[in-house]
Every structure is written in structure tokens, then in C-alpha cells.
């Protein structure tokens, strides 16, 4: 048995008792199996919902949450107001909680685990950790089991007893130096003498705007209006700092303890409210108001300075910044509707084989620089290149002749005119020289032919490999593209 509610504990059944003994003590006991996975998931959902109180939320063990409340308590008046708001809201979700406010995470952990009770949160003013923690048991200092046993053997059961200890004496008594150092570290962290950064479960945003709703929102128009107002406010803040953001997240917190969020990404940093609203508009109906939304939060992530347009010297030759801005706005709208990465631009690569010479990359607001100037081979390159070369059955003169007849997509085509071969060797520098017997794994030279069939259709065909090059069996024929 791991945990029980007050009537069970009052009947003398303590955690650690086997279930059969507990059942014999209290026959009508209701027991549930421990399911740590769903517990963890529920804790994560609760942590996501806690974002409404503070942007920095960290998981604390399997049943606790640590919130960084610096700068958040003024929204509720003072820490007492925040404590009562927290307990009231959490009570609505159905959980019970024990709250403690302190100046250090270690002190808050210790107080919440031992001194705080269900409806009486403890608020320890910063600077009073020594007095506040003196009477708490040592097990709340987050030490390992063997260390705790050792401390108990020395009779050190309260944190106050550790204050006046001689550190060197402690390290002599402990068998391992790490245990002694751990005790000192945890003590110093709890007292605020050493730093303890908390790792939040998600990176906090750089800028955020919140809108509490006096009455819970139940329909889409209220959501739209709230989003308009928040976007205006957030974009104003961004403009004032000269920044733009590439990612906007909109959270809607419902009054029953659940939250839903929408995320919008842009190719370049933006701060125009109209553009952001347009991107959200497509997806706003995915938020289900449920029992009512009582807080809206809009966050801006990935902020960076916005480029102020500088005009190039010859405006008609170069793309101006405003053109690229308009194009990225268009790309954002298309990506918002279809999904990320749908708008692509061709990035030339420094490879000479024709199927590796360029790559489609998602458009991110900038034109790709030319790696190498494109070859001008008029008439020698296909106007349509298949994404994957398709195998064909071809009859050709050995060793170098163009195909005389081939079957592609189950249609036999008779070749009337042909030109070739254009020999394109693979990039030998990307493959290591083979060990003995591995020559078959190397890529093969390709001979490209331009052929025309009796109906005028023109193809770009290649033969993979040469006869007798020792890199595999007989060469195979493929269609790479269609010529104009």
C-alpha cells in the first residue's frame, strides 16, 4: 500500500503495509492499483495548466510541482492571495494539495512535504530560512536512503541540528565523501547559500500577454476578440523592444483544470498583428471552450531582432527586402493551412550527378545562395525529371549503344533517334576504397542517352554501370526524365 486517505490512516493502516493485512484490518477497503504512467501524464497535464500562474513550472518528483513565482504574485495581490487562488483552483480540479512558498526551492520542498497541511499553506518570507527550516525532519532535504540512515544513526533528525555541525567532522564520519558533500550541498541550497536552478518542463517564453476573463467564455467570438486584444498588446511590446517573433503560442485555460493551445510558426520574425491573426484564424475553431475559458495567454517564442529593410543599389535586379517579406507572409499562410514545410525553394547542391544536384528545402524567408553557377547545357537536360528513376527493359547494342527498343510503364516504345552516351561518373571521393571483395558496393558510372520514339516523345535514359566494370552484374537501364 502506498497511500491512503484520512479514514484509512485513522484506522491504523500505514503506507508500507501489505494489501492483505490492510484488507483484513478493514474489510470494505477500496483499493486501486498503482499506475505510474497515467500518474505521470496527469502530472504533466497539471503542469501545463499551471502555466497560467507562472511561466516556469518544473516537475518535482512523482507527485509535486515547483513553480517560480518571482514576479507572478503581484497579479494576485500578494503571496497570500496567490496561495488562496491556487488552492481554490486546484480544489476545483479535484486534487488536494499542500502549498508552501519560500525563497529557495529546497526550503519550499521541505516545507510543502512536512509542515504544510491541506488548507493551510505556509509562506516563508525570504531570508528566514534558518528559523523556518530548523524544526523540519532531515528526510525532507532530498537525500538518498543510506545517507539518511547514517544521519539517523548519528542522532541527527532535525535540520536545525545540522546547522552547527563541523563540516570536516561530518566528512570524516561518513564513509564516502560524496554523501557528506551531498548533505552539505542540500543544506546550503535550502538556506540559499548555494544556487539551485530549476529546470522547467518547457522553456519559458520571452514575452507573453495574458487576459483573464471575468466570466468564462463559451463561444468563438469571445475567443476571437480576446485573441485580437492579446495580439495587439504583444506585438506592441515586441515593437517597443525592436524584436519580432517566429513562433506564437496561444493558450486557453478552462475553468475545470484543462488547457488547450495553438501554435503558429513563421518563416521570418514578424510583429504585425494582422499577419499573426490571419495565421491563427485558420485554426481557432480547434479550441473547444468546454465549460468555459477563464484565462487567455499568448506567448512569443524565438524572438530575434527584426531586420529593417535596406534598399539595394539597383532595385530592379535584386529582390528587395519587402518582396521577401511579402513572400514569407504568403509562405506562412500556406504553411498554416497545409502544415509545416510545404512551401519549398530549390537549393542547389555542389554535386554533379543530375539527381543530386539540387534539393528542395522549406522556404524560410531567404533566397538560397548559389553554390555553383548552374550549368547551361541547352537541350541536354530534361524538362521534367522524375523524382525517382524508373527501371525499364531495354534492348541495346553492347557495349555503348543507345537502346533500340524499351518497355516503360508497360508500353513498348521503339526508338527512332538517339544521342549519347554522356558519361557521368559517380563521386568517387565520397566512397572509401573497398576492402577486397567489396567492389560491388561502389556506385556505378552512368551513360545517359537522349532518345526519341516514333511518336516524337523524347526521354532521358541511362544505363547504370558499364559492361565489365566489376561492380555488380549486368548493367540496368532506367528512365531519369522526359525531354522537352
Amino acid at each position: 500500500m502506498a497511500v491512503g486517505n484520512p479514514p484509512v490512516l485513522a484506522a491504523g493502516i500505514y503506507p508500507g503495509l501489505p494489501l492483505t493485512d490492510a484488507r483484513s484490518a478493514m474489510p470494505d477497503l477500496v483499493a486501486e492499483e498503482i499506475d505510474r504512467d497515467s500518474d505521470a501524464r496527469a502530472l504533466k497535464e497539471l503542469a501545463a495548466w499551471m502555466v497560467r500562474f507562472s511561466p516556469l513550472v518544473a516537475m518535482d518528483g512523482i507527485d509535486g510541482l515547483m513553480l517560480e513565482t518571482t514576479g507572478c504574485d503581484h497579479l494576485f495581490g500578494n503571496e497570500g492571495g496567490m496561495a488562496s487562488a491556487l488552492s481554490e483552483r486546484i480544489a476545483r480540479t479535484g486534487y488536494t494539495c499542500r502549498l508552501a512558498f519560500a525563497g529557495t526551492p529546497g526550503a519550499a520542498y521541505a516545507l510543502a512535504r512536512s509542515a504544510a497541511a491541506e488548507h493551510s499553506p505556509i509562506i516563508l518570507p525570504p531570508g528566514e530560512e534558518r528559523d523556518g527550516l530548523a524544526g523540519l525532519p532531515v528526510r525532507t532535504l532530498r537525500l538518498s536512503g543510506p545517507t539518511l540512515t547514517l544521519l539517523r544513526r548519528f542522532g541527527l533528525t532535525r535540520i536545525g541540528q545540522l546547522y552547527s555541525l563541523d563540516r570536516k567532522a561530518l566528512s570524516r564520519r561518513f564513509h564516502s565523501r560524496e554523501a557528506a558533500e551531498a548533505v552539505c550541498l542540500r543544506l546550503d541550497q535550502a538556506l540559499g547559500l548555494r544556487a539551485e536552478p530549476i529546470t522547467p518542463f518547457r522553456t519559458p517564453p520571452d514575452y507573453a500577454a495574458r487576459l483573464p476573463c471575468p466570466e468564462p467564455l463559451t463561444d468563438g467570438t469571445g475567443l476571437q476578440l480576446g485573441l485580437d486584444q492579446l495580439t495587439g498588446e504583444l506585438c506592441g511590446t515586441l515593437s517597443a523592444s525592436g524584436l519580432g517573433a517566429q513562433s506564437f503560442v496561444f493558450h486557453a485555460f478552462r475553468s475545470d483544470g484543462t488547457a488547450s493551445s495553438l501554435r503558429v510558426n513563421t518563416a521570418r520574425p514578424v510583429r504585425t498583428p494582422d499577419h499573426v491573426l490571419r495565421l491563427f484564424r485558420e485554426r481557432l475553431d480547434r479550441i473547444d471552450p468546454g465549460f468555459g475559458i477563464d484565462l487567455l495567454l499568448l506567448e512569443a517564442l524565438r524572438t530575434s531582432p527584426m531586420e529593417t529593410g535596406s534598399r539595394p543599389l539597383s532595385g530592379d535586379l535584386a529582390m528587395t527586402n519587402s518582396d521577401l517579406g511579402v513572400l514569407s507572409a504568403l509562405a506562412d499562410r500556406i504553411n498554416a493551412r497545409l502544415g509545416e514545410g510545404h512551401v519549398t525553394i530549390i537549393q542547389p547542391e555542389a554535386h554533379h550527378p543530375p539527381d543530386a544536384a539540387e534539393r528542395r528545402v522549406p522556404f524560410c524567408g531567404k533566397l538560397p545562395e548559389d553554390v555553383t553557377p548552374p550549368e547551361t547545357l541547352p537541350g541536354l537536360r530534361p524538362v521534367r525529371m522524375l523524382d525517382r528513376a524508373e527501371r525499364i527493359d531495354a534492348v541495346a547494342e553492347v557495349p555503348d549503344g543507345p537502346p533500340l527498343r524499351f518497355v516503360w510503364r508497360r508500353v513498348t516504345r521503339r526508338v527512332v533517334r538517339a544521342d549519347g552516351p554522356e558519361r557521368i561518373a559517380p563521386e568517387w571521393w565520397t566512397h572509401l576504397p573497398p576492402a577486397n571483395g567489396e567492389a560491388a558496393a561502389l556506385p556505378r558510372t552512368r551513360d545517359y542517352y537522349r532518345v526519341e520514339d516514333d511518336e516524337g516523345r523524347r526521354y532521358w535514359i541511362f544505363r547504370e554501370g558499364l559492361y565489365g566494370d566489376g561492380r555488380g552484374g549486368a548493367p540496368e537501364w532506367f528512365v531519369q526524365g522526359l525531354l522537352a
Partner: protein, 263 residues
Amino acid sequence: MTASGHPIDSILQKEQNKNMSIETLKARGLIGPVTAAPVQPAAFPFGLGLSGVHEVAEAGYGHWAAATGFVLATVQPARKGTCLWVSQSTVGLEAGHVPTAVFREMANGTQPRLSVVTRKAAEALWIAEEAIASGGVRQVIAELEEADFTATRRLALASEKHGVPVTLLLPHTCTGATAAATRWRVGTRLSSTNRYDPRAPGAPRYRAVLERCRTAPMAAGQAFDLEWNDETLSLHMVSGLAARPAAPRPAPAFGTAPHRKAG
């Protein structure tokens, strides 16, 4: 004030005391915008790539490359400004994509090209409309499986309003009326004789039939036999009759023809 007999002048004279500004004149309906719809030229290519929505369909299965070549040569999308190339994924599976080298060479320019691949034709048409309305794109080329009247009508209105030409590439199975200004059927023909090697394919040739033309209905049904010259990078018309190279015949022996007297 000019003393012409224009009705506006009389009204202006009548109400000299009032503050007649352009806004009030517009509000009263006395002045209107001075724009006229661009005139579609009555000669080849009948506005293809200049204004409005045009359709280019392949003449039969397997002529998609000819249709693409025709579009690149006529429309020349890389010359004017950013081009948006929208294609449906089924078209990509059938006929692949257009590599940059050919795009730049046949369209004779260096402007960038954004491409989007979608699954449905409706999405492709929506993207085309958004691109027209955005103002940053100067040309839209869309490869679709089908296009119906209502969708092309919206596209035509948007294209006219913003002045961005749209070209649709359609497969051979498309039939039916659409709101496009012209519809072409392009098929490939045997290429011309290669000057350097008689066994090699020469310059590509197409046969483009103007099926429908809204602005010049008399021209519908005309067939153009075109050849793409890759040195001058232009299309020009060729005679439709000769389909094979001239048969070689022996040169006349020296001395058989009588000498011609000069003078």
C-alpha cells in the same frame, strides 16, 4: 476654369460656394475609375502568360513534357518576377518536377521559384488565389488533375483584379467548359533534323492547338507547329508538312550542266 461643355463644369459652376472635393464628386457618382480591362492580343500566344487564366492540356497520355516545354517557352516565368509553381502530388508521381537548370534556360531568367505540392486540387487552387492576392508573386503556374468552372472563375476574377497571370497545366482527360481565357492542347512531334548528327534528336517540336479562345473566338481551332530553338531561346513556327529530313541524293556530276554565260 475651362469653358468646355462638359456636364461636370456646369455642376461645378452651379455649386461654387460648396467645397467640391474629389471625394464628394466620387460620392455623387460623377467621377469613376479610369481603368480598362487589358486587351488580349489577337495573335499568338493570345495572352498566355501575359494576363488572365489560361489552360494548357496535353494532347494525349505521355505528352506532359511537351505541355511543360510549351508553357516554359511561351510564358517565360523566370523572367518577370517570383514564380509560384503549385502541383498536385499525383502529377509529381507521373511526370516528376522541373529542374532549375531547364527552368532558367527555357524561361530565360534568374527569378526565384517557390514550389508547393498539395494533395487536392481544391487546395492548389486556394494557394494560387492566395498567391495572387499577396502581391509578391508575379506568375502562378499550377499543375492540376482537374479544374472546373467555379474554381477557375474565382481564379480569373482574382487574376484580373491583381494583374497576375495564371497558367494551368492539365492532363489529357480534362474536358468541359472552364472560365479560362484560352485553352491549348499541346502534343509533341518528331524533332527537327539535327545539324551535326542525323541520328540524334534535333530541336524539339510541338503542335499546339488553340481549342478555345474567349477574346478571339474566330481563332479557335488553329493549330501551330512550333519548334524551340535553344540557341536563340525562342519558339518559332515551322511548316507542318515536312516531318522527315530531306532524303539525301547524289550531287550532280561536274560538267553536266551547261556553262552559263555571264552578262
